[in-house]
């Protein structure tokens, strides 16, 4: 695939995501992100082993991905 096309597609996706966020619930998403960052920070500085840290981080990312969907406005055409 043409790198220019890929770049354009990426730029378009980012612009769309930003527009969806602007029309969604940016405040609540920010609170969610803050909570995720705080949990990540706590996890990284917990002193637990790499496996437990990786697992907990995977959990935080999954939680963020699943719950943040509602904070974005629907994409065009929906």
């Amino acid at each position: 695939m043409n790198p220019r096309t890929v770049l354009l597609a990426v730029i378009r996706s980012i612009r769309l995501a930003l527009a969806r966020l602007r029309h969604g619930r940016p405040g609540i998403l920010a609170a969610r992100l803050a909570a995720a960052i705080a949990m990540t920070e706590t996890t990284l500085h917990s002193g637990a082993g790499p496996a437990a840290i990786a697992g907990t981080l995977a959990g935080i990312v999954t939680w963020l991905a699943v719950t943040a969907r509602g904070d974005f406005a629907p994409p065009p055409g929906r």
């Binding site: 437990a52 995977a58 999954t62 065009p76 055409g77 929906r78």
Partner: protein, 594 residues
Amino acid sequence: VSRLLIWFLVFPRLIRWVLGLAAWTGIVIAAIAVAPVTTVAVTGLFIAWWRGWPPVRLRRAAAWSLPMTAAWMLVTAVTTRSAFAVIAAPFTSWLASWHAFSYGATSAAFVLAAPVAVPAGLLVASWAWQLRIYRIETGLAGATATAPVAFDHRQWNRQARTATRTNTAPGLVPLTNRGGQIVIGGTIRAVGHPWRPVLAIPAGAMGRHQVVIGSSGSGKTNLMIRTWAGWYTATRRAAHHGAPRPLLVVLDCKGGPDARAKAARTTRLLAAAGASDVRVWPDASPVSLWSLPPRELAVTLFQLLDTAREGPAAYYADVTQAVVILAITAPPGPPTGSAGFLGRLDPVWLERAWASDWTRLPAVRAAAKHLPDIALRYRTLMDRLGPGFDGTATLNDADAWYLILEGTKEPSVAQAQALAITELLACTATSMDTEPRSILLACDDYSAVSGKVPLWQLYERGRSLGIGVQVSAQSWHGLGASDDERYRIAATADGGIWLMRTPHPEPLAQLAGTRRVVETATKITDGTWGDEGTSRIQHAFVADPGIARRLVTGQAAYIRSGGCTWVHIARPKPSPIPAAAAPVSRPHQSRKAA
């Protein structure tokens, strides 16, 4: 006697009490031993109770937390390169967690335990919550005999609150979801249907027949507008992949200022959903009745008049029909407007038009003496119908039509208009010369105009023409004139029944069917609830009519396939981001070409 009393009364109770104490002690010890799992389970249980979640939601949360377990095991496998270490990891992590906790490193203890404790705890919570609900519902638990009722009432309130909160998340309630289903709103409760946080119905369900029953102020309009916009969006998206373009025809049968406000709202919403041409009839855009094929036009014009079907007066009905056929099918071709049609109801014009046809001329001469009366009746009818049918547009010209019939102010006119519109729609659906369209006919309060075309007839006609028909009524009795008609309509609503607040929901609840429940009766001894009782299987309504009666504005039951989902309808709002793709339009592709 005292020995017997001790042996048969005190001793069994003592044994039971000791066994119970031992069991609870064991449970407490186990709960302390697996404290991280217990903590997650108790938290999950509390959240489920507080937010009215069903147990399945906890199970799904447990499934969603499995990636953390997978990542944890994967990194363990990579770092230790030992299968035994991976198998033993839950135990070693548990030990390490306790060790960290005893040293005061709480966060390390949590992180070490989380990959196993979170999914396991949520699963335990789901099981415990299911058990609690079962015990309460069947009367096995609860301090009083009314405990199941109070529990259900409180849970309903919590579930309704959660559903309302779900609707505030814009990403959860778009008009359609990723799979092209029409999103309705946050689920309150599902009985006999699989539970989803948000109710979404297949767009195909709108292509069949739907019934909406709800009294004034129950949120019926909001629901209908959401389903129209959702259907339009889903069908428009399907049209990008070669399916027919959508054509939405809304009949607002009450009329009045409210209808104008609803039309404006629907127009705005559909425009935002991608409809480039939404027309409001008769205010903004007249339609051409005269575009009907001559035979159909003649039949429709005849049906618009109120004529006797039996007795001596039926003679005049036959004469009128013969005259209308002669006027419409005359050799110069059908008229293009009401003025042209009225001009033909003249003996001289008709005789000239049919002068070359010796077989028809005697009929023209025989009817000549009745022509002034017939012309007078049609002149009156056309005046009452107004200029709404003298336009040049056909229904196929637009993406959506919002047709306002003054069913409250002028019922007889609105009935005639409804008849003409259904004929135009039938012509649009069957015409071989125009582009095939996917059609949804939505009739709001159709009972106000059902005089000439009864609802069941509209339903059956829609079915035979492949048109989806959605009808709404304010009550069960508004669906038809007799119970036979009402059941004929409701029982064939294979796209589903929407039941909103109404004082008489029983017939629709009966159509939803029953489910088997356990009913427990407890024996009363000396004025208190004893510890003996009986249980039996009973049938209970899937769609509880008691709930339907006390629904608040915006709440509805979606009844389909023997199940019922209670839902809070989200206010319809299309994506605020403009679509980059141009609207689909294939105006020149006829059905023949297709």
